[in-house]
């Protein structure tokens, strides 16, 4: 993973976007953000943080509050969340970090920061209606479990994706 190269320099507050916080909090799900008192219960209970210390809910919440728009939306690890909801369950201030993260991911996707596997998966669903690529091996496996043959009915899935505007999301440019 590429480290933020500006780590050694102080962050210039004047270069940040103080409106970013209110933009995030416009979403009903994310309104708890300001109540965060940075106790770190979310980070302490996060299974992802244990493996990828870069993914740190306490830090992310603070970064949003400070207005570090570009840094927050462009970092790849906001997509690492495994949706275990530990942060939300244990938070003493009902901040609901999981919801905030969803808002951030939506914003990131709209601004072109969606990771390419995610975009590929969306396309996969549009084409086949299922998450995993359909191949012979899968078909054999299903047969051995006496499961019916998969039909490729992707019309509904495609329509849903189009309605949600997910088909327009572009993957992050490889730099």
């Amino acid at each position: 993973m590429k480290q933020d190269n500006s780590q050694s320099e102080p962050i210039r507050i004047s270069k940040l976007d103080p409106k970013f916080k209110s933009e995030v909090m416009k979403h009903k799900d994310a309104q708890g953000l300001n109540a965060c008192f940075a106790c770190g219960t979310c980070t302490a209970g996060c299974p992802v943080h244990e493996i990828f210390p870069e993914y740190d809910p306490r830090k992310l919440a603070k970064m949003v509050k400070l207005g570090m728009r570009k840094e927050v939306l462009s970092i790849p690890y906001i997509w690492y969340c495994v949706t275990c909801h530990n942060c939300e369950q244990r938070c003493p201030q009902n901040v609901k970090f999981f919801n905030i993260l969803n808002v951030l991911k939506n914003m990131a996707a709209k601004e072109g920061y969606a990771p390419s596997p995610w975009v590929e998966q969306t396309q996969q669903i549009m084409q086949t209606g299922i998450v995993f690529p359909k191949d012979e091996e899968l078909a054999k496996k299903r047969e051995s479990f006496f499961l019916p043959v998969l039909k490729s009915d992707c019309k509904k899935a495609k329509k849903l994706i189009e309605l949600a505007g997910l088909d327009k999301i572009k993957a992050k440019k490889q730099s």
Binding site: T41, T43, A44, G45, H49, N94
Partner: protein
Amino acid sequence: MNSKKEKRIGIFICHCGKNIAGGLNIESLVESSRQIQGVVYVIDNKFSCSEDGQVAIQKAIQNQKLDRVIIAACDPALHLMTFQRCGKKAGIEPGFVDLIDIRKWTMHGSPHRVDPEQAFEKSKKLIELAVKRMRLKRLIPLVEVKAEQSVLVIGGGVAGLEAGLDLADKGYRVYIVERLPTIGGKMALLYKVFPTNDCAPCILAPKTAYANIHPNINLLTNSEVKSVEGYIGNFDIKVIQNPRYIDAKMCTGCGECIEKCPSRVIDNVYSAGMGERKAIYIPYDQAIPKKAIIDAEHCLYLRSGACSLCEKVCPTDAIDFEQRTRTIKLKVGAIIVATGFDEYNPTEKSEYGYGRYDNVITQFQLARLLDIDGPTKGKLLRPNDGREPKSIVMIQCVGSRDENTNAYCSNICCMYALKHAQMIREMVLPDTEIYICYIDMRTTGKGFEEYYRKTRELGINFIRGRPSDIIEETDTRNLILKVEDPDIGRLLKIETDLVVLSCATIPSSGTRQLSQILQINLDENGFYKEVHPKLRPVETNVRGIYICGAAQGPKDIPDSIVQARAAASFLDKELREAKIKLPEYIVKAIKLN
């Protein structure tokens, strides 16, 4: 005053600087108030409570020949008395001066604040209603009645004792009602107290011992208030005293009965579940009164007629199995409520495993373990295997500052965690590593910051983070917790022998029932509610009933003492003349009883 004659009502609308004027159209409010029937004079004032404002009201009363006055301004709890005094100077009875709160609709920070149009409508309506009420008002004559020179203090902890002793020294007859068999409350069980680290029983004993022998104090231990009737000056109280099964006059506290008693019980009150006692017991060495008591639930004789060894060995024949609950009737002039607090039971926070893991305890339990007069005689051992812990983790804010349990800060937990850390390091286990996981360290009292520094100098580790959960290792029964330390930006995984939870301070059990008996209000957290959080901190909605100590909100000992003295002083002001003026209808009601 001729009641048929139309009243001459004057209305004074206060700007309160910008607090009201900034939130609604005062001119329109003045105009609309002029239209109300019975109103002869309306004017607005920049600050009604200021000297100029009060002079303006008095002048208007004289010039306009007003006989009733309504001030539309702030909370009556704050300023009604100011304006009643102001009216009285101009010859208007206090009952004919009314203050209605329109500021709550407009002021910044008010929970009732609404937009200017709504604020206007609500204020207009309030003024209309106040005028209607004022037009119907008759003068209620005040009648002077005798005020009893006696006081009921509910709760024999440090706050109740302080208030009781203060009043007893002033000459009042004081009844201290305590639910437990001994006075001294929670403080007696704390061993040491911050920030001086002196021994709690030692500095409490002068109060408990003095209360025990004070000629003006009656101690009613093992007792609860059953009913309260009447008004300030004349409250009729019924107290239920539960049987001790010991003749307290005969018992010398020698303890021979305890030695012989075969029934062992886990002591959940005085040892916080960390030790045992017998079915017949004396709570602790410095207990007052130092008399034995029989726990009827576990006494073999009282349960099944077996045993009665205690009766056989008692050298003074003090055992009395025939004792029954008795009702004591008291007549008092006023009541002080000092029922204190309980420690929050953290079982609900299942992620910390309290109740499931033996080696997770609370700070109150730790205080009992550290006490040389406690269940382990001051030895700090792991509950599950009796081994000395090599490391201890304390977790702050368990059940406090937590929207899912208690949203408020419990005020004392930072300090008692520091105290216990100091004690363990200096007196019990100097080589044991201690980690305190905290969110914010709050040490704001006199001498408290120095205390925090001293704890740091002793080498206690402070980690600014809150663990998410605790896992127990099945074979070693050690506890594993993870916490992020932002100082180094890394996740710490701590394997420890003992975890101590700094649990919230909550109202003592029975607070709600007592509030119903007394008809006094509770706040949103279940503590007794004061009339005004800043200006009237010891009065309740019932005149003659005052509150102090942790029953009013989480509080340390210095603050409890201050508040107890305040309550005693206020009570003395009300009763010292031995007579009191009450509205006629109340006096009639008392006499009917």
